[in-house]
């Protein structure tokens, strides 16, 4: 991971926390001292339409957008957003969808986005402390506990902890 750019696409519907999730991911990579770029389109996101955010990190990143067929991970917050975003995945790229996390284990189901980041985190070499710091700095304090719990659930299901 260290010597090349890692490409992650986060996709979902307006209101699901796509942009929040990608902000947390980008900050975790930023805290690790990497070059980071993140691209998304605002404007229609609150009207329930498709939302996609690209996060890229590594030693040096040029374009902020993940080229088609080169995403190492597609994190889909809504099952119906897997298909339209499938072309972004690289051969051997990993799809992370709501099926990967048992929502019944979440203390708040609205934290699904962060739970899926937990699952993703098990596949990345970013230190857990950076993830937790990024969660705290992107969310108001009353939401910290539920989101850190969701992150831990996802991370465990991803194979760590």
């Amino acid at each position: 991971m260290a010597d090349r750019v890692t490409n992650v696409v986060v996709a979902g519907l307006g209101g699901q926390g796509v942009l929040k999730a990608s902000d947390i991911l980008a900050e975790a990579a930023f805290r690790a001292g990497l070059d980071v770029k993140k691209a998304e389109v605002h404007g229609m996101s609150q009207r329930g339409g498709s939302v996609r955010s690209d996060v890229r990190f590594g030693p040096q990143v040029f374009s902020p957008m993940v080229p088609n067929g080169s995403a190492d991970f597609l994190v889909a917050l809504a099952a119906d957003q897997v298909e339209p975003n499938q072309p972004c995945l690289a051969d051997g790229g990993i799809l992370i969808s709501p099926e990967n996390v048992d929502e019944n284990l979440l203390s708040n189901r609205r934290c699904l986005n962060v739970a899926l980041l937990g699952f993703l985190s098990a596949h990345l070499e970013l230190p857990e402390s950076h993830w937790l710091a990024a969660i705290r700095s992107n969310l108001p304090s009353p939401l910290h506990e539920a989101n850190c719990q969701a992150f831990a659930v996802g991370r465990k299901m991803g194979g760590i902890g």
């Binding site: 519907l13 307006g14 980008a26 900050e27 930023f30 805290r31 070059d35 980071v36 770029k37 993140k38 691209a39 998304e40 389109v41 605002h42 404007g43 229609m44 609150q46 009207r47 329930g48 339409g49 498709s50 996609r52 990143v61 040029f62 374009s63 902020p64 957008m65 080229p67 088609n68 067929g69 119906d80 957003q81 298909e83 339209p84 975003n85 499938q86 072309p87 700095s137």
Partner: protein, 536 residues
């Protein structure tokens, strides 16, 4: 976020930070994707930022500040510069005493716009220097440079950004704080500032002379730079196209342009001569390629299909490979829609049921064109609903004419609808007309910004308020109604049906707060009640 001096910022945040660091005294604009966050963030950082009724007024306010010697910024989306074009063209003649940067945020690919015009053309047409950043670090740096250039040459400078610059985040290393600009003071200089024909003739000549000097400076400017790679391929690019191209062709040589008007023509000529194939990669119109070719430089452009939409690494690879074949269509996403419980829903249901010909406008409610409503027939630009509706009424036969309704949002009405309302009174169609102002108490589409009809400023503090019903009555409309169709749908339908039958002018204001803003509006209203002496 900030870590050992590094920050992860969007281009919009980087522009705002630079404006703050450079001591910009006033930032004015009108919300428009993808530019909106520039002034919001500038305000959060403690800068004086304001929403004006529209971009023309915003630019005029910023120009006044720059006449007084201050550093000022006007920020808007690409189509906003159409509205502000009038002051821009003549501000190039008058020049400024301080600094004036005009940020034009273009939207290639139409993420949230009605067209994908390329505002690099404005720099040429208005004759103002133009800078284009390629990431957030450059957005920060070039904002500082634009302010410096503007003050040095006494000219407005266009900072041209695009959706992917505005809304992408990348790392910024800010510079140490700089000295504040001198305090504003007005010096009388009528020959420079009063554009009567006699003075404007001289001002035009002075402007062209300045531009020629800037073009000479540009040839040596560090804002344009050569990245020497393999000489088999040389790429000339600017803005977001540059970073896509660096990734698509890592071994190529590059001429990376930070100043895209005036162009460093001789530098480009030498660069092109030094590579075996010289390709121009640009998003939008063939502006660079045409300009370079007009100067006699043999550069290769891109196929016409790449003029449409955004570029990305994959498309740039196709351009380099000379592959003009049809591209695979993007898989369709889920389109946005009016929120469940949106107060506009009832209005469009009713317009559909009554078989109205709906002259629409720009905002969330433009989604009334989509199923299940399909109750919009025209949408052109901010405020056009009224003029277009009147034009339809003037020429259509009575049966159709009596079905024409103009529908405009509250913020859009203040932006460009007021002059349409004046037209309605001045040149009323024989069948009268019906105007519906959809008042949801916010600029919803761009993310819930304030406007003069909310009675609150950009930072949500109370101020004077424009009241549409009072305005309509004062202008001479006798049938003015304020209703809430969500609460009384049948009453609204009866009112609209009877207004359509009468050959009179009617203004109906449908008032109910946007669902997304309702909570904040009621909290702000409560806070204002506790502090009634806000003036205004």
């Amino acid at each position: 976020m900030n870590q050992a001096g590094r920050m992860l910022l969007s281009g919009n945040e980087a522009i705002a930070l630079a404006a703050r660091h450079a001591g910009v005294a006033l930032g004015a604009g009108y919300p428009g994707t993808p530019s909106t966050e520039i002034l919001e963030y500038f305000s959060e950082l403690g800068g004086k930022a304001q929403w004006s009724p529209n971009e023309k007024v915003a630019l005029e306010v910023a120009l006044g500040a720059a006449f007084a010697g201050a550093s000022a910024m006007a920020a808007m989306k690409h189509v906003g510069l159409n509205v502000a074009a009038d002051p821009l063209f003549t501000a190039a003649y008058t020049g400024v005493s301080g600094a004036l940067v005009v940020v034009s945020a273009d939207d290639p690919g139409l993420a949230s716009s009605q067209n994908e015009q390329d505002n690099r053309r404005y720099a040429v047409a208005a004759a103002v220097p133009m800078l284009e950043p390629s990431d957030s670090q450059e957005a920060y740096e070039l904002t500082l440079e634009a302010l410096d250039l503007s003050r040095l040459w006494g000219l407005p400078v266009l900072l041209r950004v695009t959706t992917r610059i505005c809304h992408s985040k990348s790392i910024v290393l800010p510079r140490p704080p700089r000295e504040a600009p001198p305090s504003p003071v007005f010096h009388r200089d009528v020959r420079s500032r009063v554009m009567i024909p006699a003075y404007a003739k001289l001002a035009h000549q002075k402007l062209r002379k300045k531009l020629a000097e800037i073009a000479r400076w540009c040839e040596q400017s560090p804002l344009n730079r050569v990245i020497r790679g393999d000489d088999s391929l040389g790429i000339i690019a600017s803005g977001i196209a540059y970073v896509h191209a660096r990734e698509a062709a890592p071994r190529a040589s590059f001429l990376k342009l930070g100043v895209t008007y005036p162009l460093a023509i001789e530098q480009a000529r030498a660069f092109a001569a030094g590579v075996r194939r010289c390709l121009v990669i640009e998003e939008g119109d063939p502006y660079l390629v045409d300009s370079l070719r007009a100067a006699g430089i043999a550069v290769e452009g891109q196929a016409e299909i790449f003029r449409f939409g955004e570029l990305n690494v994959g498309r740039v690879k196709r351009i380099i490979a000379g592959d003009p074949t049809d591209e695979p269509p993007m898989p369709p996403g889920k389109p946005p829609q009016l929120c469940a419980g949106c107060p506009h829903r009832k209005v469009f249901e009713t317009l559909g049921r009554l078989g109205c010909i709906v002259s629409g406008d720009i905002g969330c409610y433009t989604l009334g064109v989509l199923p299940p409503f399909e109750a919009m027939d025209t949408c052109v630009c901010m405020g056009a609903s009224i003029g277009v509706g009147l034009g339809l009424r003037h020429v259509l036969g009575g049966d159709q004419a009596r079905r024409v309704v103009s529908v405009i949002g509250d913020s859009t009405f203040v932006h460009s609808g007021i002059t349409g309302l004046v037209e309605m009174i001045y040149n009323p169609p024989a069948t009268g007309h019906v105007l519906i102002i959809l008042d949801n108490g916010t600029t919803a589409m761009t993310g819930l910004q304030e406007h003069p009809g909310t009675g609150r400023k950009l930072d949500h503090k109370a101020t004077g308020r424009v009241v549409y019903e009072d305005l309509a009555r004062a202008l001479g409309i006798t049938n003015v109604h304020v209703v809430d169709p969500t609460r009384d749908g049948e009453g609204f339908e009866r009112l609209l049906a009877s207004a359509l039958k009468r050959d009179e002018l009617t203004v109906i204001i449908t008032r109910r707060p946007c669902l997304l803003a309702a909570r904040r509006i009621s909290e702000l209203d409560k806070a204002a009640e506790n502090k009634p002496d806000h003036g205004g």
